[in-house]
Subunit: 460 residues, 2 copies
């Protein structure tokens, strides 16, 4: 395995890393309106870099509405006559960093430690976006051309629903004409094990608001007669699933497509130690979930319900004896192939309205949603990817799914007719969406090499 692009990447690695750190310093938190300008700054940084390395038509695409709207970044290079066109996707936005006090070093001051770089967005997804750009730069610098036609589309709303890119893909499919998509927002199954993700869960993210009294009340004076919205919320949430994690919403499992026997067999042969996973990744006393199913089945092939926060009432230090007028729960559900977000939301909403306790009003709001997807593995792009990965990592690729959601992969399929190659380089313990998010520096380096070799292979 050798190419002048790989040599360029090796030589320039320290600079690549320094540039990534600059990008990580921008707190482009898409869910928080006060960071709107930071999101734009990250978009401008990425756009300028795409232009600098030689891509054409680099521009920001506006089009979203409201405080969560952040521009898309587009660029292309379409001079590889007769070669396939790849649509390269990633996102420059990041999750909020809270709880801040659990970070060992500040989330927006990228820090190298133990062979990793720690920062919010290190692996999800700025580090992987930068690996994509640096692969393109290396190919372009070494050959004054790219081996394939390339369109790049990066978004800034992945963590907040991805409305702008979804609308863009649906309304202007001709702008993104390609043969396949390359998505780098996933992880290796284990350190050193080349991995392609071929399945994603979908999701619905909701807010469940419960209102009782017209105003906050004193729990001494009114306790025993006034409805307590938190108690009502707890009564509702306790009925969403049983203590084995089985969802109690009628009809919720009706459309669930079970994994194939082949897929289940492959999952069983993956290097996975459930006890090690419990101890080092989750760190809980026991794992929860549906009995009789493996962790892979539970997290890749079964729907879930999770509660992320319950704003309202008094949350400060000390004691306040208030019965709040309202309380809210942020509730999301992961969906699996063949389920649809619209139906799942309707089943959930109807059920909650049916089981709500007396004395309260409820409001069930859909914040965002995404389709689940399964990628066929028998196309030439997947084959090229496994060949490239074998060369760089020295091992056969494993096909896995992810429990997470990348709604755009479903949109690429639906609106553009593109299969996606989900080639990502995170690790299972990278703490994405959590304090101390990191990206392994070796994976950053081999990720760039893998992407270089993959594009060379596709263009052969």
């Amino acid at each position: 395995m050798s190419s002048s692009a790989l040599a360029f990447a090796k030589q320039n690695h320290p600079r690549f890393l320094a540039e990534l750190k600059d990008l990580l310093r921008i707190p482009s938190i898409s869910t928080l309106p006060e960071h709107s300008e930071d999101c734009r700054k990250a978009a401008e940084t990425v756009k300028a870099e795409l232009k600098r390395i030689g891509l054409e038509h680099a521009r920001l695409i506006e089009g979203g509405h409201g405080p969560d709207a952040h521009p898309l970044v587009y660029a292309d290079w379409l001079h590889a006559a007769g070669k396939p066109t790849v649509l390269i996707y990633g996102h420059y936005d990041v999750q909020p960093p809270d709880p801040l006090d659990e970070w060992h070093t500040p989330p927006f001051e990228p820090t190298e430690r133990n062979g990793n770089i720690y920062a919010r967005g290190a692996v999800d997804d700025k580090g992987q976006v930068w690996a994509q750009i640096k692969a393109l730069e290396s190919l372009m610098a070494a050959n004054k051309a790219l081996p394939v036609n390339v369109r790049v589309i990066f978004e800034g709303e992945e963590e907040v629903g991805g409305e702008t890119i979804a609308n863009y893909v649906a309304s202007k499919p001709g702008d993104l004409k390609a043969d396949f998509a390359l998505v780098s927002d996933t992880e290796l199954f284990a350190p050193g094990l080349p991995t392609l993700c071929v399945g994603l869960r979908g999701m619905i993210y909701t807010e469940l608001e419960v209102r009782g009294a017209k105003t906050d009340l004193h729990s001494g004076i009114y306790g025993g007669a006034a409805p307590n919205p938190f108690v009502a919320l707890c009564q509702i949430i306790a009925k969403l699933k049983d203590e084995n994690g089985h969802i109690l919403i009628p009809g919720f499992y009706d459309d669930v497509q079970a994994p194939s026997a082949d897929e289940l067999k492959a999952w069983k042969s993956l290097p996975f130690d459930e006890e090690e996973y419990r101890k080092t990744e989750v760190g809980s006393k026991v794992l929860v979930g549906e009995p009789g199913l493996s962790v892979m089945e539970r997290t890749w092939a079964r729907p879930t319900v999770d509660v992320h926060g319950m704003p309202g009432g008094f949350t400060g230090a000390g004691a306040k004896t208030v019965i709040p007028a309202k309380a809210t729960a942020k509730v999301s559900m992961r969906l699996v192939p063949n389920m649809t977000p619209a139906k799942a939301f309707q089943l959930y909403k109807s059920y909650v309205e049916k089981i709500k306790p007396v004395g309260v009003d409820i409001d069930v709001r859909l914040i965002h949603s995404g389709d689940a997807c399964l990628i066929p593995t028998d196309n030439k792009y997947v084959k090229a990817a496994t060949k490239a990965l074998h060369e760089v990592w020295g091992k056969d690729t494993v096909f896995i799914r992810s429990g997470g959601s990348i709604p755009i992969v479903g949109d690429f399929d639906k609106h553009l007719g593109l299969p996606s190659v989900m080639m990502g380089f995170g690790l299972p313990d990278d703490n994405l969406h959590a304090p101390n998010e990191k990206f392994n520096l070796k994976n950053f380096e081999l990720g760039i090499d893998s992407l270089i070799r993959f594009l060379e292979e596709v263009g052969r």
Copy 2:
């Protein structure tokens, strides 16, 4: 009914009100450490006023520990030879004002509107403390002496557990020697209806913390296998009481002392319209609670469980797909006569530990507690109070209980052997502990008159 003290009060009412506004402008929020200096400022203001009106030995008493410790204010006047000694109690601290956006005028800018004064602490308890002080000032100004011996003790931790005064009463009972206590921190049963409160619920205020994974996790990657602390909390809380408000903790009702047949009969004759109460005070669709019991029984004579807030996880705008490592619920229980906080907490803690879902650890913390109490109504101080109230209000006094907790009343009984006369002038719709707290200006005026006449009557 006439006395020169009443005349003095009438003449000086505008000044009394202006002074009260000055006190209300001090945000003496005892539960928030950042307002510690404001609590001290309120204490100093009250102490200075007690000295100015002619009381002796005015001083602050320190003794608490930690950020919630705020000084007691003491003063006395003990020159009414042969007359009873009254221990006058109130508190200068207030509840936090949040949610701020629901206040029509800022909580610490007292505003007159519709015959009320609106401010945090207007009725709970600064307005009533000021009525006590102004009654003493009027008596002293008119007679150059008081009709009874007086000790005043005001605290600044009523909203945060009252540790300093509890310790002081328990450890130095000789400092507060008296014949009875006068507590002004309660309300009239209905506008214009003189009321003495003769029973209070006790309480335990707890934090229930649930811990699952060792760190926050992504709900896509781990959802279905990692325990969710909010879901576990909801499962626990849903089992604390049934949907009729009946508490499910084994043994919780064992010690409950039922109201006497006489008391129940008196409650039935109170001017109370349950539908009106639901609509105008609570403002909920229906009232909740144990079927077959009146609102008075539910709120005065039955224990309750309420949840005040559930800090943890993601509570901002938008969406964050986190499974938090931990979540907490602020849970309190009101107790009724014959129940003890220690036993109630133990029953609750044991039950919660027994029903906790698999996969999580829990921690049950007692933040503070107070005894319930019932005051005998056949003593001469209660008789003097009813006589004074009849003169000022032109009506017979009703004896009620309160669902709230004034733990110090139990301590006065236990450590000082004092019966308490709970003579307060709030109204049921005064929004205490809620946005737009108010105090009726007429009640402030008649409250001062009532206190003047009561002390004159006791000293006769």
